[in-house]
Each structure stands twice: as structure tokens, then as C-alpha cells.
Amino acid sequence: MMTEKELQTKSIEYRKKILKYIYGAKAGHTGGSLSCVDILNVLYNTTMNVGPENIKSADRDRYVQSKGHCVEALFVVLADKGFFPETDLETLCKYKSHYIGHPTKKVNGVEQNTGALGHGLPLSVGMAISAKLDGKDYKVFTLLGDGELPEGSNWEAALTASHYKLDNLCAIIDHNKLQITGKTSDVCNTDPIDQKFESFGWSVKHVDGHDHLQLKAILASMPFEENKPSLIIAHTIKGKGVSYMEDQIKWHHGVPSEEEYTSALQELDHTLASL
């Protein structure tokens, strides 16, 4: 069992690596990777029964990243779990590399090819239905961006999930309140997200998406209600951990300059030292 400090330390290491590989590739989704990395950390290091040793097992827990553009966070966590050598990430976005700007099954540990938004929830619903059909008790987790909620496929899948009483399914919304154009509430207001999902038959909880212990506890408590799919609205900050990137649309897919990169690493090291 990892302590809070160990989880916090890992998250800072992950953040540094996310920046390193984005800086190296001169491409990537910086802000959204930094906003979701604590969630991935807790999922892979405390919650899910999945690792390189059981990735082929039919009983493993599944994770589908609907917000596929934040692949850098996923790659860094998968490398840390031993799915592939971290040095592979030096080829990020290069010719013939399978480490491209979105998750694909060519990379060990990735469950599904995503990148077009609004696909993760239906895919996860399918996996959860199949678990029920097979009488298996694995769980399915999926991570959505808040900006992708207007895709109708999400709401169609939300209906299917409650119709089939998928209490083995947990969707997590990385609620960083930003998308490309601006604030999610200005682009297409989806509030109140909790009431919408509740009226669709889901059980909903809010969490601070950067608080490892809260995340761990809430994930361990799913299903929140018997016979209902669980939704976690994780309140996060886009660009979290690097003050000049926080809550700025510029950093949706902004790539740091050398100076910016150095100052980001300094800030993260400073945070690490003060843990």
C-alpha cells in the first residue's frame, strides 16, 4: 500500500516526465495531461488490478482513456508500471514510433485506440456488459474530458449503462473547466453534470482530483450504489503543478520553450522538496 507521500512523490515524477517527453517531441497535450495524472496515478497504483503480469488475463480490470489526447500522462504511468521501457518514450511522435499523440493498442497496456472524443464511454459500457455476461468481477474505468461531454455518444452510453445496471463501471470526468476554445461553461455549458447523470440513473460523487487519498477512497467505494454505474466528477486544474500553465487555454497543447521547461522542472523539484 502506498502512502500519501509516496503517491504525491510519484505524481511529481510523472509530471516531470510528461514535460520531458512533450518537450522532446515538441508536441503533446500538456495541460490536460497534468490535470489527469493524479487520477491515473491512483488508478494504476492503488485501485486497478492490472499490470504487465496480467495484461492478457480476461479477469484484469480495464481502463479506457476517452480523452485520448492526454496520452502523455498515460504513457508515463504505463512505463512506470513496467509495461514497456521508459526509454521507448524518446521516440514519441517520431517516424514509425507507436508512441504517437493518442493511445493505440500497439503500445503494451493500452486497451483501446482512442483520440476521437466521445468513444471511451460506449467502449467501456461494452466491456462492463461483457463482464456481466461472463459472470466476471473485473471493473471498467474510463476517463473523460469535461469538454467532450457534448458528444451525444456519451449520453447514449450513459443510458445503456444504467439500463444494464452496470455497477462494475466507473466513469471519471476530468473536470478542469477548460477545453480548446475557452471555458467549458462558455463553449457549451454542461452544468449541472451531477444532476444530469443522476437523472440518467447513475450514482455520482465529487472529488478533488488532485487529492490522492480522497481519490483512493472514492475509487475503493465503487459501486457507489448497487445496480448503478458510478460517476466521479474530479475537480482538477488544467496544467496543475506548473503555476504558469495552470488554468490557461494556451497550455491545452502548448509546448514549453527551453526556458519554460527549465522553470517548470525547478518548480516541480521545489514542490517535491517541500513534501
Partner: protein, 320 residues
Amino acid sequence: METIVNKRPGTGQANLEVFSETLQKLAQFDKDIIVVTSDSRGSGKLVPFAEKFPKQIVEIGIAEQNLVGVAAGIASTGKKVFAVSPACFLTARSFEQIKNDVAYSDNPVNLIGISAGVSYGALGSTHHSLHDFAALRAVNNMIIVAPADNYETEQAITQAAALNQPIYLRFGKKNMPHLLPESNDFQFGKGRIIRNGADLTIIGTGETVHPALQAAERLQAEYGINATIVSMHTIKPLDYELIARLAESGKPILTVEEHSIFGGLGEACASFLMENNYRNPFKIMGIPDEYTVTGSQNDIFNHYGISESGILAAARKLVS
């Protein structure tokens, strides 16, 4: 045929930028121009448009099916609608809305597919549109256009705004050279001859016309092979008259497109040639039916020979 010397007046902007600027010029004088976006105004270079004409832009959020449905509804009331979204999502996610709400119901939406083909490079196949010509060719009442340079883009947007018919335009985001000095010969459905040569014809579309032209110049300089280069900006309706004229000599025909080799420009030309008993040596260049190689747009072009040297090699083989 004599050889036209290409004057190459230098490198222009990305067609995407020309699209946005042209739309702003038009919107100044035409309040009926409405842009509809799906969190895509940044990628569509439309932030200045939104600032200047806040009443002429409707933001939908990330919901491309809804984008096209809403655009069709607005178009039905007589407005000139430009629905702008990455080509990959616009033509795949919203295909049924395009088929039913735009084409079949005859609502004159201008569908603008941005960052088309493999422009998104290392973002991978979710973001590539290698299916759009094929899918939309099979939809009745749909014009399909891929402008090759800034001039063609400006003309295409201006003429589309006045056309009042369902139309799909796609372009990329890299800077494009001017292929010819400005002229006034752009017309939907009429291919443009960029260069004349008697030994073979290379028909390109969109961003592939430029490497074809580069290949032609080297073919002449290094091998004495003279190629005609055509910008077939309109994939549908295809310029059959021009293809027939070029096929008469019996010389080889090579087509090049930033699209699957299935169902695009090449197969459209091939079926016309076959049905009309032309038996010219013929080859289709494009993206083959495989898991698309990963990398930048340039990497992908080079890998599949959609490049100066790749087209040069294919042309030489076809001629010999």
C-alpha cells in the same frame, strides 16, 4: 504541347489561413454568412473571425453530429452556413447528418474539413481523413473540392458562398506555394492545367499537386520526360472532358492524392477511363490499405512516395 514555365511566385500561406481571411472579407458585406464550429475555431484559424463578427458565429462544443445537423437547420432558413471542423470528424462522425440533413434534404451547407488528409501527422489515424472523398463521392448532391494553393482556396470559398448547394471543401495547414501566377480560371468541376508536357499526365489534388509539379520539373531536367500536371481540385463532379482530352494521346496517367487509394480521385478517373475504352498505362498513388505509418505529414508522404522523389520514380516507371 509546349511547356509552360512555372513562374513560382513564392510560398504562400496555409490554405487554412486563406480560408479564414476570405471568409472575413465576405462576412463584412454579408450578414447571412454564419460560421458554425465545434471547439474548432482555433484549429480553423477563426479566432479573428469570431472577434470581428461575434453575431455570425455559432459555437456548438465538441459534438460534430450536432454541428452538421444544426448547420443544416440554419441553412434551411436561407443563410450561408460554413460548418467548420477537422475533416476526420466532420466526415466520419457526422456522415449521416451530411447524407440526410445536408445532401438529401438539400440544405446548402458549406462543409469545411480542416487539417485534412494526414495533416495531423503523429496524432494518428483517428485524426486522419483518408476516407472523405470515398465516403462523400457515394452521396448524391455533394460537391467535393480540395484546393491546391492559396488562389484556388480563395476562389473556392468565394464561389462556394455564392453557390447555394451542398459542398465539401477540405484543406491542410501547411504553407502552400503559389502554383501559378494569379489567374481567373478557377471553376468548380474544371481541372486546372498547371504545366503542359507530352509524355505523361500527373493528376493531383489538394496538397499533392505541389510535389507532382516538383517531380515534373526534375523529370524534364534530369530525364527529358515532359509531364502535364493537373490540379483536379474538384473530385466530384469530376472533369471528364479534361480527362478524356488528356487520355486521347494514349500516354500514361498517374494520379496522386492524400487519401486512401480506395474510392478517391484515382478510382474516379479509372472508372471513367475504363468505361470509355481508354487503356492508358495508369497508376493510383495515395495511402495504401494498411495500418498507416506513423509520423509527421512529411514522414507519411515520403513513406508512401507522395513526394517529389516518389512521384518522380513512379512516373519514370510508368513511362518506360
